[in-house]
Symmetry: C2
Subunit: 450 residues, 2 copies
Amino acid sequence: MIQITRESLTVDLVRKLLRKGALTNLKNILQKFHPADIAVFFNYLSEKEKETIFRLCVEIEKFPEIISLLEPSESANFLSTLKKEEIYKIFKNIHSDDVVDIINALPEELAQDILSFMKKEDVAEIESLLEYEEDTAGGIMNPDFFALEENTTVKDAVDSLREAKDVEMVFYLYVVDNRNHLVGVVSLRYLVTSKSDAKLKDIMNTDVISVRTNMDQEEVAKIVTRYDVLAVPVVDEENKLVGVITVDDIIDVIREENTEDMLKMAGTTEEEIVTKSTYSSFKIRLPWLFATFIGGVFASQIMGVFQENLKDFIALAFFIPIIMGMGGNIGAQTSTIVVRGIALGKVDVKQFWHFIFKQFKIGILLGITYGILLGVIAKFLHGEISYIGITVCLAIICEMTIGSILGTMIPMILKRVNIDPAVATGAFVTTALDILGIVIYFFLASVFIF
Amino acid sequence: MIQITRESLTVDLVRKLLRKGALTNLKNILQKFHPADIAVFFNYLSEKEKETIFRLCVEIEKFPEIISLLEPSESANFLSTLKKEEIYKIFKNIHSDDVVDIINALPEELAQDILSFMKKEDVAEIESLLEYEEDTAGGIMNPDFFALEENTTVKDAVDSLREAKDVEMVFYLYVVDNRNHLVGVVSLRYLVTSKSDAKLKDIMNTDVISVRTNMDQEEVAKIVTRYDVLAVPVVDEENKLVGVITVDDIIDVIREENTEDMLKMAGTTEEEIVTKSTYSSFKIRLPWLFATFIGGVFASQIMGVFQENLKDFIALAFFIPIIMGMGGNIGAQTSTIVVRGIALGKVDVKQFWHFIFKQFKIGILLGITYGILLGVIAKFLHGEISYIGITVCLAIICEMTIGSILGTMIPMILKRVNIDPAVATGAFVTTALDILGIVIYFFLASVFIF
């Protein structure tokens, strides 16, 4: 039985051996690990430790598998220290789709060098894969699939299965006509239990779900998860079978998309998770913070208009942070619910008013609760200003209700005009609420106090 | 070929037929849809429309499959309008793990009623499943798996496969000893290509990865995705095989956990996505907003201490929103990067100081950039107050640097003490930053201005 290795224990052990310089020992241990485990604990090592481990791994048998499991940027990084012949040898032992990911991450010149070094036939397949956009079905598919002609008998199919080696996880057998058009699918289970002289066309299921090479990877993920299939065949414009996408690739897509959404909403991008450079992080975040900055400068200008009044009723200033904070918070809650709801297919942008009304009710309820609470506190602490309680109370109610409405409206509108609702939602909502909060507060103060 | 149905078109068509009252027509169309498609477009219908569609679906053949694909709460809701006998009939046609999810969502009394109505043997299996925690391997596994004794021949295995009906997606054949202990696994592909008189114990792979019934579902997801397996067998404390978890269940787990993290960070929970009641949403969000509220009240009290100074230098108040906003924003960016990094295994909490130092550098760089920008603006607009530029500039630098450090520290510390880093990160970070921002600003103002 394979023991599930615990990262922390493994990392500690590896570090200890590295410190001691017990490299032969370490190599023996690495040889026993599952390649997937090596790829995972790699994440926990420092750059220097990674280099040492990498040099040890080059010599072990499952090295190509490890390379295909690491982040492509990381693999590219390491491979670029090797000779062209060595890189070629490794590429020959991993799936073309993984080769393509690594080539994409290599420096342009080295990538070209290697491509020209590789044999003609290999390059043809890889070059055709390089043509697809990275985030489409063509970009994530594996071109080594298992397909047979429809007149093949079950017996011959089983024989071919015995000989097929380089194909990823076979559990469906795709059936094509004599022009390579996808016409059906047979599950291995069904194949096994069929008579050996039956032809594939007689036992195949013709209701096969396929995707086009140019379909967005998110759409592919939706189809695979909706129909609970383990793999989906990829066809070109002529319905010719060109590849297959397996469920493990789909899991990566789902993870990636979720990370993207989460980070975009917080005002950064998924590149920041991978990058090691402080300056890259700085550059990625700078523009997202600019929206808040501009909003803040606007808010300060608005306050400037009321500075004489503010001097007379200085206690009013004390409540500005809480009004803006509550608005920003409810805006974040609502927009996250809506963005996630859209991603999960639980929010239909066509039911625009239905969702706005629902969030309006929640916002106003929460606003009344916290408005009354803060109003009482304001009256109690600063009762010398008449109507301060009612002003603060109404300001919170308005700000929270608007926060709820904007948090619903903005992602839904973005989705409708085909902009990723996660992209701008965070920055849009908070900036709008910062400015509106100040305007509403001083408007109410003008009515009741000034 | 199955046409991938577009939700929007489907929903429009269904609505049109509903409005016309063309129910027979509608029923015919429903019959042609894939159950998964019906389950998806259900999400887009109003409560009233759902009821009508549900009544139509009851009569079509694939109804049990539709029921098992809907949200358990939704299925429970609909089923509770049916007679016990009818519910029983449906339960007999869906997998026990789905039955358990629905029973868990039914009102207590009705659940008991149905359990006592069901036949003895069915109830035994379901009751044993009900004992597992919902978010453990036992809670998500399917007890209908395909396992054979190690002395079975390949020929007999293929025959059993032909007879097995109720088992979910067979692609691995699990091998047990005569006491039902899991001892190996044979992939269907390998089975097909083996000699028919070979015994399973001779061809099986003994390196089978299994999980215990009490393992957290998130851990199970990690294992399945790491080792790229399509299913993982579940064993009890005695290593006896009790169920199997397939990759489609794992995708649900990943989606669920991601939703949970995103919503927790924004200050709400995943229940809000499902609930229809305004009052439930109100109750879920109320406590999360309280942290911001308390932070705001504190901040206002601190400002109260400086009210006389503030009156003399009223322009200082104008910059409070922007300082708090920039702090909150960088705090959200950093904590999201760290929380997501932990979830993806890219951030190791043992390298505490390494990550703090990295985020410190990013924070101080961004702080200097925006600090100088705002300092210049402040000097230009309110130059009548000497040192206002330097005060505002230093306040932004300090606030953003601290925002970056807290955004890194808080989730890492929570993870170390085994609290879900997503839970409290959002509220903790912003509240702490609101208060610290005010304190730092007024401290700097005391030094340079008051």
